[in-house]
């Protein structure tokens, strides 16, 4: 599938940065918040002129790829039917300051993206764009081959979808370290040395490859026993 139209659910800090990157990459961009167009119209017109402010349904129906950029505690406000059959990038993390207490948001025995996938069961979920702070996403995007280019971790269970998303990430201005296992999303969640870090390909790959040796990796391994 060629991706021409990008839809972003969530018109907050990350959603707006991603909209800007997608516009720069030449995509047609639609974006929505939890409310009406009127609520975000001026914000979108001023911060990312060219992006179309809209509502969730319209965004989903008119996009080739969807980015979920809302607080994790809110994803169940979206009807799973709405995203049926779609390719969706999960840019969300569990973040206690906005999401509240973990047990109320997530089951203890699996990772956030697995739970998002279980909820949107007829949707293909790939995790990406979640581990870099929004201002780094905005400032550090670079064309391919630029020596300052940074990398993002892309992971999901569906091979073809992951490859498509990796290509999309490339067009958005980042190298990619790719895994084909959605559960590996945990490697970039809060607590990981990758969370909030902005790293080049080699550095990111090194930590991913040696994840089990990191403090966080050991904790994760211990809790899975």
């Amino acid at each position: 599938m060629t991706i021409k139209r990008v839809g972003i659910l969530g018109a907050g800090k990350v959603g707006i940065v991603l909209a800007g990157l997608a516009l720069d990459a030449g995509y047609e961009v639609r974006i929505s918040g939890s409310g009406t167009v009127k609520k975000i119209d001026l914000i979108i017109k001023t911060l990312v002129p060219g992006a179309i402010a809209s509502e969730n349904r319209d965004v989903v129906e008119n996009s080739d790829i969807i980015l979920l950029a809302i607080p994790l505690s809110r994803y169940k406000n979206i009807d799973p039917q709405l995203l049926k059959g779609k390719l969706v990038i999960d840019a969300m993390n569990y973040w206690w300051e906005t999401d509240g207490i973990r047990e109320e948001v997530l089951e203890p025995d699996s990772t956030s993206s697995e739970q998002v996938q279980a909820y949107f069961k007829d949707t293909t979920i790939v995790k990406a764009f979640n581990h870099m702070g929004y201002h780094n996403l905005q400032e550090d995007a670079r064309p391919k081959g630029n020596p300052k280019r940074k990398a993002l971790f892309v992971t999901g269970d569906d091979h073809k979808a992951v490859d498509e998303v990796a290509h999309f990430v490339d067009t958005m201005g980042f190298d990619q370290v790719v895994h084909y296992n959605l559960a590996d999303g945990i490697m970039t969640e809060p607590g990981s040395p990758l969370f909030g870090a902005s790293l080049k390909y080699d550095e990111l790959k090194h930590i991913i490859d040696h994840f089990n040796e990191t403090e966080f990796g050991k904790q994760v391994a211990a809790s899975q026993k």
């Binding site: 911060l47 201002h135 809060p190 909030g196």
Partner: protein, 351 residues
């Protein structure tokens, strides 16, 4: 266009624990007394505002900033007394009004309210609030505060606080209105909210290039025009450290700001700050670190770029000694501020 003669400069502290020369830490009580002394120094040198943060944590000494500001009021003449910030969502707007109106009275009208979320959230469980209600709490309490600010009898009801019926709240201020800012981070929605209430805006730029806030400031002005609300020059606050010697400034700042950010990061799951990140922040980002000349040039650039009316430097992050903190305030007041004005005036003349 920046009006150099009206520009305001402030310092802000979060109430970090002060270090002794031997590296051991002073008590919270000693750290609080140090802030009073620093307020005095800042006033003596003509700094316009001092802001004191509200935190409820072991690594900060101040949970009750108005009390600290009241003590500063009693030893100063000119300086405005601000909170940086008052966590309105977990406070009672009636109490907020009362405390500030009292401070305003005893300081001859120098109180300045800065309302916001603050960079921490520990006040929520402490006072029995749910973090996920954050937005609703802030909106509701802001609406009540806004009515109280008129200093007339208030009739109000909401979800998080008992209703008020035709209730007067005291004391009234001499100016008839408390000067009020809303402190915001990176969320565009909070800009729109500040515009709706017609409050002044102070933006916390704690990381990354100031340049990325330019569109947000355009948004503020556009929204104010569209909603027909008052427009004020925007204020910005960022971290910094100034010393006579560049290497010393960088070394002290790296050690302390890193320690401070990493400690916060630990509870939030952020990776520790690398030297590369720190260098990026001091060169083109939002840490204003170095000799007075370096810092003045960087502040002047930000003020000009974002068309600001006020710049506040956050000082004392981590565990700095009293000497380091005091010298920084002195350099900021006597060298940096005049130099910033000079640079901006030269720029203006060249235009």
């Amino acid at each position: 266009m920046v009006d150099v003669n009206k520009l305001e400069f402030g310092i802000e502290t979060f109430g970090d624990i002060v270090a002794n020369e031997d590296g051991s830490l002073k008590s919270a009580a000693e750290s609080i007394r140090q802030i009073i002394h620093e307020g005095e120094i800042a006033d003596k040198y003509g700094i316009n505002v001092i802001g004191v943060g509200e935190h409820h944590r072991p690594d900060y000494s101040v949970s009750s900033p108005e009390t600290v500001l009241a003590a500063i009021a009693s030893v100063t003449k000119q300086i405005k007394l601000a909170t940086a910030v008052t966590v309105l969502s977990s406070d009672d707007p009636v109490r907020v009004y009362e405390r500030f109106a009292t401070l305003d009275g005893l300081s001859n009208g120098r109180a300045q309210v800065m309302l916001g979320r603050g960079s921490f959230t520990e006040s929520f469980p402490l006072f029995g609030y749910d973090l996920t209600d954050y937005d609703d709490l802030f909106n509701e309490k802001l609406s009540l505060y806004d009515m109280l600010r008129t200093e007339k009898a208030v009739t109000w009801s909401g979800k998080f606080r008992p209703s008020l019926k035709n209730q007067e709240v005291y004391p009234k201020t001499e100016n008839g209105e408390l000067e009020t800012y809303i402190g915001i981070g990176g969320s565009p929605e909070s800009i729109i909210r500040a515009v709706r209430f017609g409050y002044k805006v102070i933006i916390a730029i704690i990381g990354g290039q100031a340049d990325r806030f330019k569109p947000y400031i355009d948004l503020y002005h556009k929204a104010a025009k569209q909603l027909n609300m008052p427009e004020y020059p925007i204020a910005v606050h960022s971290h910094g450290f100034i010393a006579d010697n560049e290497d010393e400034a960088l070394e002290v700042a790296f050690k302390n700001i890193k320690a401070n950010f990493d400690r916060i990061g630990l509870t939030r799951g952020w990776a520790p700050m690398s030297r590369e990140q720190f260098d990026h922040e001091t060169q083109v980002g939002s840490f204003y670190v170095g000799t007075p000349e370096v810092v003045a040039n960087r502040i002047a650039r930000t003020i000009d770029l974002l068309d600001l009316g006020r710049f506040d430097l956050v000082y004392g992050a981590g565990n700095q000694t009293a000497a380091q903190r005091e010298r920084m305030i002195e350099l900021y007041a006597t060298k940096v501020i005049p130099r910033v004005k000079e640079i901006l005036k030269a720029k203006e003349a060249a235009k």
